[in-house]
Assembly symmetry: C2
Homo-oligomer: 289 residues x 2
């Protein structure tokens, strides 16, 4: 393309793509070139800004380890991760939200009504609900993975003081679709802000806080797997989640209970519970595959 200009370079790029190129890859690259080139044209990007952008990508790579993926975090704070979640979330059923980097495989089994709180500090919370279809039918045998931060805002794999699978569980619901467990109230926490992502947050006057939340993955044969998070309605960061994970339909209430009569049925922790404690009710609605 000896006649390449600011205006024709996008077409020149597309013309380079061979006929054998995978059609989906070609479509993605077409959109990528279109938006990348328009971004440069519309901003009048200077050489210095271009270099700064490439340096930011390079520094993002330098801080990335198997335990800390700064590229994912960059995608998170730019809203891309949440957008991809929303794009791929079915319109019916409970919305999905970001998986995050703290999920680990192999969480221990917990029966319905079991206690995930163990020796953890923090307010006792009983979380209950049904796994059901959009029509309200219980989904028998659905499997739930649960994980959350301790009272100090850290997940077990961030904190050497916690047992390996602290505040993590795997539960199978019964005939009625009910899930229920006792735990502690999770805490808000900050995403790592000592790297390139932090540089971006600081330069734009943004804080690194996420509202507290409970993570869930729910699977059942014949239904779309749901990866989501559930947020309390009174969290101070609900309207300013650094990674854009909050959805209106993922907000629940911590209801303070001052009488032991309010204990739900079938709790392992029933005899050890003291007032006040909190109850949370949240149903998960799975879309068919």
């Amino acid at each position: 393309m000896r006649t390449v200009t600011k205006e024709t370079i996008t077409a020149a790029f597309l013309a380079y793509c061979g006929d054998d190129t995978n059609p989906r890859l070609r479509f993605i690259l077409e959109k990528l070139a279109h938006h990348l080139h328009d971004f440069a044209r519309e901003t009048g990007l200077t050489h210095a800004e271009w270099r700064k952008g490439l340096e930011l990508l390079q520094k993002t790579g330098e801080i990335t380890t198997p335990e800390r993926n700064e590229y994912v975090l960059m995608s998170d704070v730019l809203g891309l991760s949440s957008l991809v979640d929303m794009i791929n979330s079915p319109d019916i059923g409970t919305p999905s939200s970001v998986l995050g980097p703290f999920h680990i495989l192999g969480a221990p089994d917990l029966p319905v009504g079991g206690d995930m709180r163990q020796d953890n500090d923090g307010a006792a919370v009983i979380v209950s609900g049904y796994v059901r279809t959009p029509q309200g039918t219980p989904i028998k045998g659905a499997e739930i993975e649960i994980w959350q931060t301790a009272d100090n805002g850290l997940y077990s794999n961030q904190d050497e003081q916690q047992p390996e699978y602290n505040l993590r569980a795997h539960m199978v619901v019964g005939e009625d679709g009910l899930y229920r467990f006792s735990t502690v109230r999770p805490a808000p926490y900050t995403v790592p802000d000592d790297g390139p992502v932090g540089e971006l947050l600081h330069a734009t006057g943004r804080h690194p806080w996420r509202p507290s939340h409970l993570h869930f993955i729910i699977t059942a044969p014949g239904y779309r797997t749901l990866v989501t998070e559930v947020f309390p309605s009174d969290d101070p960061y609900l309207d300013e989640d650094a990674v854009f994970g909050v959805r209106e339909r993922l907000i629940m209430n911590y209801v303070e209970q001052t009488s032991l009569d309010a204990r739900p049925d079938g709790l392992d922790i029933a005899d050890r519970l003291t007032v006040p404690f909190f109850t949370v009710d949240f149903d998960f609605v799975l879309a068919e595959e």
Copy 2:
């Protein structure tokens, strides 16, 4: 933003930017979020494709060293580097083109008419021209840096067989604005294609070749610095430069000379030149600052 949706997330991102944000940074981030989010929305980007993209960025970082910047190369083959060049190139004067990764500081001084060829293999070429204003006035004292590949397609800093500053020179033009040197014809070469950039090229049926070229940086007080490349009109890769560096106004002719009478004046190499040799005429026109 508890009401964030696929449609509102771009506005939510912008609303996070504090009032104290540098206005230029805010403008760039606004355009970045707009195009990044539109890219995801228009492609219906899946989680698997999103992960693949982040992995590509991560692999680009893993192969990057002080000697090989794969991010720059990725920007090159996506057309971004050339586009940034064109955006920042003044409309008048000789067009700029990509600097590339092979420029090094400290090239030896060569007088006008000096010999850069030395012991290099390859066809002898005499390159001449004027550094001048758009009105044709010579720019006395303009400084020129020149670098190019040897006959094997490698730059001196890629090839241990070549002396450190082989085929590199720094020249100051005199009163008449004339520059002139003898050299060898540079060779086409491939950009590195054994990393993530190569993966992209192979997946889209693209080759990694660049047409042969001479690199120049031209500076003069009161004028915009010109970073450019000059390409031969008969190069087989002229219409398919892997990094989009060719501009119509950067094409010159190698004219074959079969008589020593065609030697330009004032050549160090005059007595050692044999026929056939080539002459190239190319003027550099600098825009005022």
